[in-house]
Amino acid sequence: MNTENMPKSLRTFPREKAFYFFTSIGNYTGVSAASLKEFVERINEVNVKSIEFHLYRGDFEKWIGETLEDKKLAEDVGKLQKTNPLGDQLRNQLHAIVSKRYQQLAFGLGLVR
């Protein structure tokens, strides 16, 4: 597939642009995501403390907006932050948002059925 026509949010990024999951300042879990597809997968695996840490710092919104350049998804994640979910409820809601967006984009390109 010609990656030039692919939306940026479906591309795989180099290490320096990947998302690195931390549980608190300076504490890196060893889990990272270099694409939206990986991000969807990692949300299901990573320590939920890490999801809470990044959501409320606005890190997910920033990475999705600036690196993936997906303003719609960034906005949706930003809205989730305002509802203050925690724990597995947060994990499930975030996973639903990002996986739905991934399915939409990937379906449009025929990557999923």
Binding site: R15, E16, A18, Y20, F22, I25, G26, N27, Y28, T29, G30, S32
Partner: protein, 166 residues
């Protein structure tokens, strides 16, 4: 002081000179000589030799950053690495001015331990997230931010005074 194939072996007088210098590096050769009961020319000669052989690395000022109004935080990082990449991670870290000390340690896993300074918690996190975590071979990182410093001294001849009978 003995020189064997470019390696300098220090005697008790050399160690006493170093000890005196570490207490106050601005004192004169004459003053050190007087304290130790040796000629100032002997102090001069021995110091030059120790400088040439890299035993004395530099003369520097120890600055109290807090009193100088330089606000910063210090953190100790434990970096778990892939053993194949460990050396490279340590070398990369060593190139960074904000990283003050880098050590390798082999306990249950191969670790790199580093001391780092940053302007604040946010800049510390940005450094670790944007620079350190993406380095190939970094598996995970534990960071402890120092909240109170009880002691910090550079290596001193006095640390080994008992052994050296000084």
């Amino acid at each position: 002081m003995k020189i064997k194939s470019d390696t300098l072996t220090l005697d008790a007088t050399d160690l006493k000179i170093l000890k005196a210098l570490q207490e106050d590096a601005r004192q004169t050769y004459a003053n050190i000589g007087k304290r130790l009961g040796i000629a100032h020319s002997t102090v001069y000669d021995r110091l030059r030799k120790m400088e040439r052989h890299g035993i004395i690395k530099q003369y520097t000022a120890v600055v109290d950053g807090e009193k100088a109004g330089l606000k910063s935080i210090t953190a100790l990082m434990t970096i778990y690495t892939d053993p194949k990449e460990s050396e490279r991670v340590a070398e990369e870290l060593s190139k960074t001015p904000k990283v003050l000390e880098v050590y390798a340690s082999l306990s249950e896993e191969l670790l790199i331990i580093a001391k780092v300074v940053a302007e604040n918690q946010e800049s510390l996190h940005a450094f670790i997230a944007n620079y350190l975590a993406p380095l190939p071979g970094v598996l995970r990182i534990r960071t402890s931010i120092v909240t109170k410093k009880f002691k910090e001294t550079p290596f001193s001849i006095s640390n080994d005074a008992d052994k050296l009978h000084l």
